[in-house]
Structures are given as structure tokens and as C-alpha cells.
């Protein structure tokens, strides 16, 4: 059905709508997770889905993350297309064997005999006062495992388009959603064939002076910083790699060639974070010769997320950190 309408909705609602459309479209899509039925999911992502699709397709599980993901891998190799919700990304640790040693490798290890079409939804990030075991951003771990795809939308439209693409993809896709974005609103196409393809970097704001590469919940902060800087006559270009792996580097490289200055930012801890990978890829590319200043990484401090509100905020890059970093790059001789 072709539908040209656009509707304002939250990021939460957009993911939910994307899942519903794909479940209507394909009977093989099932959905497993803890408290996703009557409760509607810890963050309300599956409100009403039990009523619409019934207990055969909306599967409330025991608190057994290893079983959820292992079962999904087994089901995916035999014809179903499971979506799994892990209540907090932090608990993906329980499911790492199923994901890393089984799901990610099966196709390759078996010489291409099988495929593992599944989606792992992972609510991530800090800023909720939930402390060290409910606030992590572990995307770099996942990107380090060949065989997995990793996506992380920042806007409602991206969320809907990407969840649909992830469900249609024939590989295990880790879909990282940031808890602080759930209630943010934006325009979303209602067209059921609206897809945001995997491996695409979005240009969120054009500019010529400095490039900022960021994703997830830092995008709104970067956008605010850019709006502030625009009033000072500084034009920041913001790129959002909503697929973290495999990453679409071309727009990033092109932008750095144009601006000669780049900041790469994420909430996850700096050491071993994806910022290092992105910066390295820029350094390996033709953009290297165009750099007018050393590249800057803004990232979470290398500490677990603390509970105290002020401390928690101190761990994560803020709007003011973006502004300072831009000035630092521009001041560089």
C-alpha cells in the first residue's frame, strides 16, 4: 500500500510502528523478550502488540537473556525472523555467546549454507539515573564481531526506516536505541515501504567550517551546539553514521576534505570506542591530506556510569564540550 502521508510521532512510537508493519507484512516475524506482552515492554515499545498479534508471535520470555538470543538464532536459521528485546543493552552480556559465537559466525563457518535473519533491540545509554549496570553504550563490542550489523537511529523517521530494514535484512542486526530519545518527536513517513537502508550515513546539517561525526543521543547536543555556533558565523557540518557497522564512510571523508577539521563524538567510553575506528579510517583516507588540525575525539570518560546526577552528566560530552572543541579546531594554526 502506498501512502504519502507524514505523521508526527515519537521515536518510541516509530520503532513500534515499524515492527507492527513488518509483522503484518510477514508471518515469519516473531517478537521475543521480557515483559513485552501485557506490560508492553519496559519502555512501552510493544504496547498493544500482544492484542494485535497474540501469544504465538509476541512471546513473553522468562528472565533468560541467553535463551532469548540463542533461541532467536536457532529460529532464524530455520525459517523465522525473530525480533528480540533485551530490556537494557547492559544485559547483552548474558547473550554474547549466542550472538558472538553462534549467530554472527554460522553463515561463514558453514560455508554460506545458512543465514541468520534476526534483530536484537538494545536500549542503551545513560542520563536516566540508573547507574552503572543500566546505562552502558557497548556498541563498539558489537562492531568488533564480523557477521553482525549494528545500527543506531537518532530520529523517529530513521528509527522506523531502520527497524524495518533490520527486520528485512538476512543477517543478525543489533538495533541500538537510546532511552533518552524515546520521547523525542519528529515527522515519520507512514508509507509501509519507507525504508532507511542499512550502511548509510546521514548528513544532518550542512556546513563548511568543521565536521562533527556523531550518533545516538549526542546528535541533539551537537545540533544545539551547531545552532549556537551558526550565530557566531561558524558553519558546522554534522554527519550521523546511523549504521555503525558496516559504516558508510564516503560522506564523512568528503566532508573532512571540505572542512579540514573534524570532531568524532560518542557517549561510549573513549578507549576502544568507535571514535578511534572512525578517526583511523579518516586518517587512512584521502581526507588525511586535507586536515588543518589534529582530529578530536569527544567521548565518555573511561569510567562506569555513576548514579549521582551531576557526576553522570560529567561523564558524557555536553553541548558546551562540542562548542569548545570547535573553537579549539578553529584556533589551530
Amino acid at each position: 500500500m502506498n501512502n504519502n502521508e507524514i505523521q508526527n510521532m515519537t521515536y518510541r512510537e516509530a520503532i513500534r510502528l515499524g515492527m507492527i508493519e513488518e509483522m503484518q507484512r510477514d508471518d515469519n516475524v516473531i517478537f521475543m523478550g521480557e515483559d513485552i506482552g501485557v506490560y508492553g515492554g519496559a519502555f512501552g515499545l510493544s504496547q498493544g502488540m500482544l492484542e494485535e498479534f497474540g501469544e504465538e508471535r509476541i512471546l513473553d520470555t522468562p528472565i533468560s537473556e541467553a535463551a532469548i538470543v540463542g533461541t532467536a538464532v536457532g529460529a532464524a536459521t530455520t525459517g523465522l525472523r525473530p525480533i528480540c528485546e533485551i530490556m537494557f543493552m547492559d544485559f547483552v552480556t548474558f547473550a554474547m555467546d549466542a550472538l558472538v559465537n553462534q549467530g554472527a559466525k554460522m553463515r561463514y563457518m558453514f560455508g554460506g549454507q545458512t543465514q541468520v535473519p534476526m534483530v536484537l533491540r538494545l536500549p542503551a545509554g545513560s542520563g536516566t539515573g540508573a547507574a552503572a549496570q543500566h546505562s552502558q553504550s557497548l556498541e563498539a563490542w558489537l562492531c568488533h564481531v564480523p557477521g553482525l550489523k549494528v545500527v543506531t537511529p537518532s530520529t523517529p523517521a530513521q528509527a522506523k526506516g531502520l527497524i524495518k530494514a533490520a527486520i528485512r535484512d538476512n543477517n543478525p542486526v543489533c538495533f541500538i536505541e537510546h532511552k533518552l530519545l524515546y520521547s523525542t518527536e519528529g515527522e515519520v513517513p507512514l508509507d509501509e515501504d519507507f525504508i532507511v537502508e542499512i550502511e548509510k550515513t546521514m548528513t544532518e546539517r550542512p556546513g563548511k567550517d568543521v565536521t562533527i561525526v556523531t550518533y545516538g543521543t549526542l546528535l541533539p547536543k551537537a545540533m544545539e551546539a551547531a545552532a549556537f555556533l551558526a550565530e557566531e558565523g561558524i558553519e558546522v557540518e554534522i554527519l550521523n553514521p546511523i549504521t555503525l557497522y558496516p559504516m558508510d564512510m564516503k560522506p564523512i571523508v568528503d566532508s573532512v576534505i571540505k572542512t579540514g577539521r573534524v570532531i568524532v563524538a560518542h557517549e561510549a567510553a573513549k578507549t576502544g570506542g568507535l571514535g578511534g575506528e572512525i578517526v583511523a579510517r579518516i586518517a587512512e583516507s584521502e581526507a588525511f591530506d586535507y586536515l588543518n588540525a589534529p582530529m578530536i575525539r569527544l567521548a565518555g570518560l573511561d569510567v562506569p556510569i555513576p548514579y549521582n546526577k551531576e557526576l553522570e552528566a560529567a561523564v558524557i560530552p555536553q553541548k558546551s564540550d562540542f562548542i569548545r572543541a570547535v573553537y579549539r579546531l578553529l584556533d589551530h594554526e
Binding site: 521480557e34 515483559d35 506482552g37 501485557v38 506490560y39 519496559a42 513473553d60 522468562p62 528472565i63 533468560s64 537473556e65 541467553a66 535463551a67 547492559d90 544485559f91 548474558f94 536516566t128 539515573g129 540508573a130 547507574a131 552503572a132 549496570q133 543500566h134 570518560l301 573511561d302 569510567v303 562506569p304 555513576p306 548514579y307 549521582n308 546526577k309 551531576e310 557526576l311 560529567a314 561523564v315
Partner: protein
Amino acid sequence: MIELPEKILLRMYYKMNQARFFEEKVDDLFTKGLVHGTTHLSIGQEATGVASCMALEKGDLVSLTHRGHSQAIGFGLDVNLMMAEILGKANGYCKGKGGSMHIADVRNGNLGANGVVGGGFNLSCGAALTQKYKKTGKVVLCFAGDGATNEGSFHESLNLASIWKLPIVFLIENNLYGMSTPVAKHMNIENISDRSASYDMPGLTIDGNDPLEVYNILLKALRYARAGRGPVLIEAKTYRYSGHSKSDAQDYRTREEVEEWQKRDPILKMKNYLKDNKVFTDKQILTMEEEAKDSIENALEFAMESPEPEITAVLDDVYA
């Protein structure tokens, strides 16, 4: 019913009241938006949280759950420092870094409340291994919820504890739900204690709303574990009155069910016991309740007046 010394009964009743008032205060702080984050209240579960700990000996250890305020108070933590932690203050138990879900006092044997469901099982095995290795004669009391017993770590830990004869008492607070999921939907057995059979250890199901039963059974179980005979699994059936956490519409249960359980309130039960057996006079009981309440008002005052952590503290304590 076994006669208990007055001193123990007094402490038990006082601390159960303290736990109730503490959590009512915490609930109030969250409802007013004065605290950020979330909390899991154990109102209704004070018998399993408090009376169980009364049976411990000095030097025994505990591993607590995310729903751990009553457990912590039962174990003897200072409500001032607990409240300071919940307000994120520098002098809270975790210097404001842990919050409600992570209250710990490791030096004194509280290995910490755990935000990871089932996170305490393996840790308890390790702590018990230390006791066995060092021949301390101490026992680990490991708290967990019904839902947690579906994690692999529960089964792995019970097996390990059994073959190594580790001194652990696993106390499952079966409050009939794991978040919104009723026990009947997350396992096909009626009594979680049946799971002990797979690991050849004693398993008991008890009334978790009867503080004296909890206390007496724990005494026996701890004695068994302390004697080097291995672990014990106890399932205590109880009920939480509040929602799972701060945000819970509670569509999965009825108001009548909650009210039914409120009639079997553990604090009320204990109060009736104390009155019926003339252990204390009405006046003494009232005084205990008032003192417990005052201690929580004081705790809040203490916490409010406590300092915020220095911002540089964010970098402290990552490594030893």
C-alpha cells in the same frame, strides 16, 4: 512456635518498621521527583528481608537484590548512609555512585545490592568459597527473586555450590511475579524449592510473610551450611504491594489480589503475635514504631544536609 528472646523480637519488629517507613519515604521522594533514577520497593516483603538477616551470625555475608532496602536494613546497614546514597551524596554507602539499586557495605559483609537479575548467585559462590578456604565458619546468605531463578547463573551456582559443599543459603523471595510475569507463566513448577532436587540439596518452601517462620527456618538452614554440609535452597512466598519500579501501571494484577495480601501483612502479623503473647505492651509497641519512624525522618534530614560529591570524584575508584 518457638520462643524467641525478647531482644531478638524487639530488633526484628523495630527493623521491619524501619524498612517500611524507609521505603515509604523513598517512594515519596521519587513521586515528588526529588530523586532521579528509579527504585524497586520491597514494601510487603519485610519478613524475608529483615527476619532472615536476624538469624545471621556476626561475620556472615549477604548478597542483595535490586529490591534490597529491607534486606540491607535487616543486615544492619545504617539508614542515614542508605538515604544519603539514594540522594546521591558523597557520604552515602557508595559515595553517591551506586544509588538505590547498588547499596553495598562490602567491608562488613554486605556484598552489595545487584542491578543485574541473577547477578548475585555466582558472586555468592565465590564469597562462600573464600569462607570455606579460609575456614572462617561464616555463611553467605544469597537473596534472589523468583524470576532470577530462570537465569542460567542460578542453576550453575546451585550445582557448583552443591558439589563443592559451599556454605550458602539461597533465599528466593518469591513475590509471585518477575516484573509483570506471574510465576505460572515463567516456570512450570509450583514450588521453586523443587529445583533443589536437581542439585541434591535441601529445599524448603515457607511462608515468607511470617517473620518468625522465616527466622526459624533460616536459623536451621544457616546451621546446616555452617556445619559444612553444603548449600540450602529456601523459597519464601511473599508479595510486593508497590509496582515493580517507579513506572508500572500494574495491568497484570488486580487490586483485590493486592488487598488480599495486605491482609497477611508481615508487620501486622508480628504485631499481633507480640500482643497476643503479651511479649510487649501496646505502649511498648507504639514506642518502637515511633522510634523507627523518627529514625527515618532523621535519616532524611541527615541525607539532605550531606554534601554532594566533588565533581572530580567521577574519576576516583575505577581501579584499586
